[in-house]
């Protein structure tokens, strides 16, 4: 693997670190299998691309993307909480709807962000090569996001969200409005994923309506790899695990695809991902099985 390919893998891993943090909030904190993210990731990209092309400040565009993502999350939460639709199905409905919404937002299947300023523009040309600037920039943002999420989850309000996912009945007995926690958590989760989409568009220079396929699996892969590497005991460690897991995942994929002996090609990405996630999911169980027998 070339140096550029490695930096590229790290860069993509850091973009999806935001997805991993969002997926962690929904899946692990709230125990809410939220597939909305397959729609919110391209939504974040689409909103950012369209706004930047319209001359809006790229930072502001990313903020609007987060807002759009949060709104999408609220729709899923409402379908589940208000209308009692099974959480998984509720999120699939929103995801499907978002495909059309994303096409509407962009007016076409993809938008290129060529020769416009992005969040990264001011950082280019300061002595570092462009392919290094992007991951470093993303790393700083990811650390900020990680600290914000960490500090929130360690607060009274965050503890309420964790209790909602861990034992909703107990949470209610403690005076926690669990419905509100689901709204808040899923909105927050999707805002993070949409931010990932927005950063994807700005670092890669385009937004594409199909870029959301499998977002949830990639996010989950990062979370699970992080848990395998770091454990789940403490919130901070688990969150760092999400970010590192996302990077490790991208490097692993890059290695698998660039290795000649395996004979894989780029189009095998989804298959490789599915196999990898399945392994990560089954491995702990197999280990337990071996130990108990």
């Amino acid at each position: 693997m070339s140096q550029i390919a490695l930096w590229g893998a790290v860069e993509l891993g850091l973009v999806y670190a935001f997805v991993a943090l969002g997926v962690y909030l929904a899946f692990r904190v709230l125990d809410f299998p939220d597939l909305t993210v397959d729609g919110t990731f391209p939504l974040g990209a689409a909103v950012t691309a369209v706004l930047i092309m319209a001359g809006v400040n790229p930072w502001f565009a990313a903020a609007v993307s987060m807002l759009a993502g949060a709104l999408a999350g609220l729709v899923t939460a409402a379908l589940n909480v208000r209308f009692k639709i099974l959480n998984l199905l509720a999120s699939i409905l929103t995801m499907i709807a978002l495909f059309s919404v994303n096409l509407r937002v962009m007016g076409r299947p993809n938008v290129a962000l060529l020769s416009v300023d992005t969040m990264l523009t001011p950082f280019y040309g300061n002595g570092l090569r462009d392919f290094m600037v992007r991951p470093l920039f993303l790393l700083v943002l990811a650390i900020v996001a990680l600290i914000v999420v960490w500090r929130y989850l360690e607060s009274d309000a965050g503890l309420a969200m964790r209790a909602t996912g861990a034992n909703a009945r107990m949470a209610r007995a403690q005076g926690i409005n669990t419905d509100r926690q689901i709204y808040l958590g899923i909105a927050l989760s999707n805002a993070l994923v949409a931010l990932g989409g927005a950063l994807f568009a700005q670092t890669n220079g385009f937004a594409d309506v199909t870029s959301g396929v499998g977002t949830i699996v990639v996010g989950l892969a990062a979370v699970i790899i992080g848990e395998t590497l770091f454990g789940t005991r403490r919130i901070l460690i688990a969150l760092i695990g999400c970010v590192v897991g996302s990077i490790v995942y991208r490097i692993a994929i890059q290695l698998a695809l660039s290795s000649d002996s395996l004979g894989l090609q780029a189009s095998d990405l989804n298959l490789v991902t599915a196999v990898l996630v399945t392994f990560a999911l089954v491995l702990p169980r197999l280990k337990r099985g071996v130990l108990s027998s």
């Binding site: 500090r151 929130y152 360690e154 607060s155 009274d156 309000a157 965050g158 503890l159 309420a160 964790r162 209790a163 861990a166 034992n167 009945r169 107990m170 949470a171 209610r172 007995a173 403690q174 005076g175 926690i176 409005n177 669990t178």
Partner: protein
């Protein structure tokens, strides 16, 4: 003070399985009173607690806890007034969270939860002190997950959690039923100590006639969704388990069966 006025609860209304769980229950409990509740399965004991906790909203009647009419308030909205310990040790705490995190949750029961650190230095110390009073050595395991504790330990911690924040009533829902006899004894003694020290208004549902008479200062028996016995003071003091079983048999119109033997312990 707690006032239940003509409470009617119907489950599965309008269906063939319609069941009247409470049929016009009226009950006034004085502040600081410790009331025990007995009755056979399906008598309405749990429903009664549910009505007080907010899990069950009555179709008729009103519920007052303290100064407030809470009849229509959902569980979370009245949690500031109601502390609970569940029968299932897993139900009353978060197994995935640590002992101190569970205490932090309970510390803010019924209050606004802001962005302040849930486990600051001051709170950690406070929680540790409270847990140390249990004398179970758990103060050295504050960061252990609740799931790693035994059922009895969890119930003991649940009791501490129940008194972390103030309450107008403490509801105990057969909270020793799932424990081995030794631990059940320990948890009951602890209950008595905590209730006494904090002068808590308490309602304890139990399957054990022995417990019902040994603890508290008033006993009510439910049957078919109605209160069929309500004793306190000298009348209650002169009662023993045999008498209670006798009354139990009379209201059921049946002879002694296994169920009664079980609850007589």
């Amino acid at each position: 003070m707690i006032v239940l006025d003509n409470i009617h609860v119907v489950f599965g209304r309008g269906t063939p399985l319609e069941k009247k769980a409470l049929a016009g229950v009226s009950l006034t409990i004085k502040e600081g009173a410790f009331t025990t509740v007995i009755g056979s399965n399906g008598a309405g004991k749990s429903t009664l607690l549910g009505v007080l906790a907010g899990d069950v909203i009555p179709v008729e009647g009103s519920v007052r806890i303290g100064e407030a009419d809470v009849t229509k308030l959902p569980t979370a909205a009245r949690a500031g007034r109601v502390a609970r310990v569940f029968q299932d040790p897993l139900a009353g705490s978060c197994g995935a969270l640590s002992i101190e995190e569970n205490l932090a949750l309970a510390y803010k029961r019924g209050q606004r939860r802001g962005l302040k650190l849930a486990l600051g230095h001051h709170r950690r110390k406070l929680f540790r002190e409270h847990i140390a009073e249990l004398d179970l050595g758990l103060e050295n395991r504050m960061t252990d997950r609740m799931a790693m504790l035994s059922g009895g330990q969890r119930q003991a911690v649940s009791l501490v959690m129940a008194m972390m924040a103030g309450c107008d009533v403490l509801l105990l829902d057969e909270h020793t039923a799932a424990l081995d006899p030794g631990m059940a004894e320990f948890v009951m003694k602890l209950t008595e100590k905590i209730v006494g020290a904090n002068k808590l208004t308490t309602l304890m549902v139990t399957h054990s006639m022995r417990q019902a008479l040994d603890y508290g200062d008033r006993t009510i028996m439910l049957h078919g969704g109605e209160i069929v016995l309500d004793v306190e003071g000298n009348n209650r003091r002169n009662l023993d388990v045999e008498d209670l079983i006798d009354m139990f048999r009379r209201v059921r119109g049946q002879t002694l069966d296994d169920d009664e033997l079980l609850i007589a312990e």
